[in-house]
Amino acid sequence: MTQRIVIVGAGTGGSVLANRLADRLAPDIDAGDVEVTLVNESEMHVYKPIWLYVAFGKRDPEDGVRPVVDLVDPRVSLRFSRVEAIDAEEKRLALNGGDTLAYDYLVLATGARIVPDEVPGLQEAGHDFYSEEGAIALRDALADFTEGHLVLSVVGTPHMCPAAPLEFVFMADDWLRERGIRDQVDITYTYPIQRVHGKPTIAEWAAPRMDARDIRAETFFNVETVDAEAGVLKSLEGEELAYDLLVTIPPHDGVPMIREAGLGDDGWVAVDRTTLEATHADDVFALGDAADVPAPKAGSAAHYQASVVADRLTSLVHGQVPTATYDGKVVCFLEAGMDEATFVSFDYTHEPQLRPESRPVHWAKLAYNESYWLTARGLL
């Protein structure tokens, strides 16, 4: 009997996983003993980190888009369809258009989506760089913005790439200086907890740099509503903040079918943090942004998790006991302006250590953006 592995989502995690499996299981796939199917709603793979640069007019949105078929090993069967529902009891998926797809092992790599509607007024009032349309609209708004109060507000927790909001304000500060209009613009950064980032060491690195650059920080600020007409943010803690240009990190959610299938109440799949196996179903894994683990929703976390799931699935289809585990590892670059960056690596047990920012690390981040396509192919 052929063992069927189905991966839903051909983003960073799903693509790396599909390629790793094609590599590890090549003889089994060639012999017809194992079948790996990758299902994605669109024919395109999207590299979201590009949007940060799109907002400042430094990259084009198309730079972050490639056909899935160009990135994935031909041993993997591709299905371009939206998965509408998961039946974890019967082990099958309902696809858009009425087809069903049966599996022996299922991996959910469906990522995160932004849900600005959850905060009244946010959709009308705020810009974001967390979607292609958002980044394009923000690029135009920023180009037109020559004076006033720029507010970057982190509304949603958890959200993709915890570093990106800090990167945005440091880049905006530099970018406005380069344009000679920094003294006409006030910048405020708001964050839900009492420091400027979830990780204390990152907050300790960022806070003095924000002070030095005259970027004001409002902490313990959880946006509850936005008054688009008046240009005012209102927080859960009872405070108000007026803005001229609002950029937000909107609330995030997983895909609704995860909740509907009983796999996780919050939209994220409940999993064991080390094995990435679903808590509420057998033979189901989740990785990347879709998985509810105490690691950041970052491409590098998805990448490391994909390797672990590939190893565990390889053991399972070979009738061996899986031993590979995920230790929470993540590596993130952090832009400190338009031409300097630092980077951090940490895991479930080690806190990040920050090195002073430098130009070479900034170039390394840009180089990584270029070589990302090798990552997605499973080569890096």
């Binding site: 907890i193 990780k199 919050d266 683990v293 950041p296």
Partner: protein
């Protein structure tokens, strides 16, 4: 052991970015008033961070229970 039975348990053990307090705030935002939430955290900082935020945002701290390698912080949301 606590005698409280939480409606929701948030497992944030193993530190994790964006941090246990942010996990809790995410849950509080979506919860109905009166919901009892247990936040499990192994991050020592949470023992100060969480009460400070609850105070500012006006939610109730019910109890902090120490386990071998983590704490359970029980919270009741208000309207």
């Amino acid at each position: 052991m606590s005698t409280l039975t939480p409606d929701v348990t948030v497992d944030s053990r193993g530190a994790g970015c964006p941090g246990p307090l942010m996990d809790l705030i995410g849950k509080v935002k979506k919860a109905d008033p009166g919901t009892v939430i247990e936040l499990q955290t192994s991050d020592t900082g949470s023992k100060d961070d969480v009460p400070e935020w609850l105070d500012k945002a006006g939610h109730e701290l019910l109890e902090i229970v120490e386990h071998d390698d983590y704490w359970s912080i029980y919270v009741r949301t208000t309207g």
